[in-house]
């Protein structure tokens, strides 16, 4: 068994019992990246030297019999929209191709404080806008289960890296499904926490009222461990919640008995593929067998989710991305006649097509004469959607749905028509609109052996219940994810 295949929990045991050192573990994962990343394409930049320095520090602490943090010495990857001091943070955009932050995102500072070796920054859709990682300015990331297919997005590099054992875990960000959808497509665990639970300080903003950072991991226990590290109040993020945060790992029990689970019927109907539908029905039966009480239920306005989501997300994006003007940092065009020309050329050359589309839509819905009809209307619909989730989550401990209508698609299959691509997020966007937490857990494969995930949705701050339900399912043995077979092309770089 190669070290890189292990989970964070297993690695922590090896470190504690001195059966493996952090340097050995980190080198094993770096070797894996050298072997497979030419094929998979997860990483945009690597920081192996500093990762190994951190690993050495951890090994010295272990040698001195000091207690180490649960994730200390276990190497991971960070999505390239979280600021890393002195290391390029590009958002997979030409606009930020050479941007080197002078500070760490709060989550990155927490990783460093906990002696976590950071392997590098991973690919994503440009400014997190997309569902396939195809809008990255730099490169394609391939699904490790089938390299002809997309890994999902926007956190495609994070999910592919964890799936391919190129990182023990990764951080992603989720504005409308960007952690859960790639996790589902790659057969790994991904959690979008409650809005306000993880600091957004140093996360490059896309849609500020929807964005949230979260873990992508090999299993549920690791997911809880990462939450233990990254959740918490941060005074630098004014939307961060100042409450007592639970110990997520301590609450993990493999028991779903008595949990009340609602299955909104709108999510199981038209548009959901036959294979996904069949697998999710078996998952429901499994929960019943484990002693959960499962009922069919209903959520309001599901046909309007995408409309409300794209109006709100694009409006916020158009405002957030106004800062890229070629003055203080980022790309600047070479030839310009005056200041306006500088702005226009800089932004037109620096942003890709999908980002520009969303900025234009966002500007449109916020412009004079359309604000009430679109933006205010969407915010009102948001109230109805949020209340709908609150009502259902008063009745049930959690809701259960598919993560995506179908498995990972082929490159280019949906990129010509924006609406077709947006439909990929039909099951996930409402969770961000409501601000509740949701987790994607691997639960099966389709007839082509491609991963399928189930989405569990919880109450605000209901992560402990979500994690417990996910853990119980995983431990039941209903489904054991298989490692992908990736052909090594070592030395071809």
């Amino acid at each position: 068994m190669e070290l890189y295949t292990l989970t964070a929990s297993e690695m922590h045991e090896l470190l504690k019992t001195k059966k493996a050192s952090s340097v050995e573990i980190t080198n094993s994962v770096i070797g894996r990246i050298d072997d497979v990343d030419a094929t998979i394409g997860s990483f945009l930049s690597s920081t192996f030297d500093s990762a190994l320095d951190t690993a050495k520090t951890v090994d010295e602490k272990i040698a001195r019999n000091e207690k180490i943090a649960p994730l200390a010495g276990i190497p991971m990857a960070v999505k390239d929209n979280m600021c890393t001091k002195g290391v390029k943070t590009t958002c997979a955009s030409r606009m930020l191709e050479n941007y080197i932050p002078m500070y760490d995102a709060d989550v990155v500072a927490k990783l460093k404080k906990a002696d976590v070796p950071i392997l590098g920054k991973v690919n994503m859709d440009e400014f997190a806008m997309g569902s396939s990682t195809e809008t990255s300015y730099f490169k394609k990331t391939r699904n490790p289960h089938n390299i002809e297919r997309i890994p999902g997005g926007s956190s495609g590099g994070s999910a592919a890296a964890v799936c391919a054992d190129e990182a023990v875990y990764a951080l992603g960000s989720d504005t409308g499904g960007s952690i859960r959808q790639p996790s589902s497509h790659c057969g790994v665990v991904g959690l979008k926490p409650t809005y306000g639970v993880v600091s957004r300080f140093g996360l490059v903003a896309f849609a500020s009222s929807l964005d949230q950072i979260g873990p992508i991991t090999k299993n549920v226990a690791d997911c809880a461990k990462v939450m233990d590290l990254i959740a918490g109040h941060d005074e630098k993020d004014s939307t961060s919640f100042n409450i007592d945060y639970p110990n997520y790992s301590a609450n993990l029990i493999p028991d779903a008995k008595g949990l009340k689970i609602g299955v909104p019927r709108e999510y199981m109907g038209k548009g959901i593929s036959e294979d996904v539908s069949a697998v999710i029905k078996n998952v429901i039966k499994q929960y019943e067998d484990m002693g959960a009480i499962v009922e069919e239920t209903s959520l309001p306005l599901t046909d309007y989710y995408l409309a409300a989501y794209y109006i709100i997300a694009c409006a916020e994006a158009s405002s957030n991305l106004a800062r890229y003007d070629g003055i203080k940092y980022g790309y600047r065009t070479k030839d310009f006649s005056d200041l306006t020309d500088l702005y226009k050329k800089t932004r037109s050359e620096g942003f890709g097509d999908e980002v520009k589309r969303r900025i234009i839509l966002g500007t449109y819905v916020l412009s004079s004469g359309y604000y009430d009809a679109y933006y205010k209307k969407a915010q009102q619909v948001r109230t109805i959607i949020r209340n709908g989730f609150s009502d259902e989550l008063d009745k049930y401990d959690l809701l259960l749905t598919p993560v995506t209508p179908d498995v990972a698609f082929k490159f280019g299959e949906k990129s010509s028509d924006p609406i077709t691509m947006y439909l990929e997020d039909i099951c996930t966007v409402s969770i961000n609109i409501a601000g509740v937490p949701a987790i994607s857990v691997p639960c099966g494969v389709n007839r082509e052996n491609l991963p399928i995930g189930v989405q569990l949705i919880g109450k605000h701050f209901g992560e402990p219940t979500l994690l417990r339900a996910a853990y119980a399912f995983e431990q039941s043995g209903f489904f054991t994810p298989q490692k992908p077979q990736i052909k090594s092309v070592k030395g071809s770089k």
Binding site: I100, M102, G196, A322, I327, Y329, A373, Q379, Q380, T383
Partner: protein, 98 residues
């Protein structure tokens, strides 16, 4: 409600957003924007009379702190990311006519 999106509209909004749309792309972009706005138009079916808009999903209040002096980021490091700088300042084209 069915909103008609014209090439003029797209050029007007792109200009507001300080984006340039090349002539060769305006046709395709207008069609895409029309499709997306048609999706957005669906919301007019929903009765929202008397419903308060949600700006934030969980009640968020202003967060205040004492206004105390703290160290700022080093100027040289900040300027290192600027496309052009000169004499410790950002370098920009003329902003006002002479």
């Amino acid at each position: 409600m069915k909103t008609v999106i014209t090439e003029e509209d797209v050029r007007y909004v792109a200009n507001l957003a300080k984006l340039h749309v090349p002539d060769g792309q305006i046709n395709a972009l207008t069609k895409q924007m029309a499709d997306i706005v048609a999706l957005a138009d669906k919301l007019s079916d929903v009765d929202t009379s008397g419903i308060e808009p949600t700006n934030h999903v969980i009640p968020v209040n202003n967060v205040f702190r004492e206004d105390e002096v703290r160290p700022s980021y080093p100027r040289d490091e900040m300027l290192a990311n600027a496309p052009m700088s000169s004499a410790g300042c950002y370098f920009v084209p003329y902003t006002f006519d002479e």
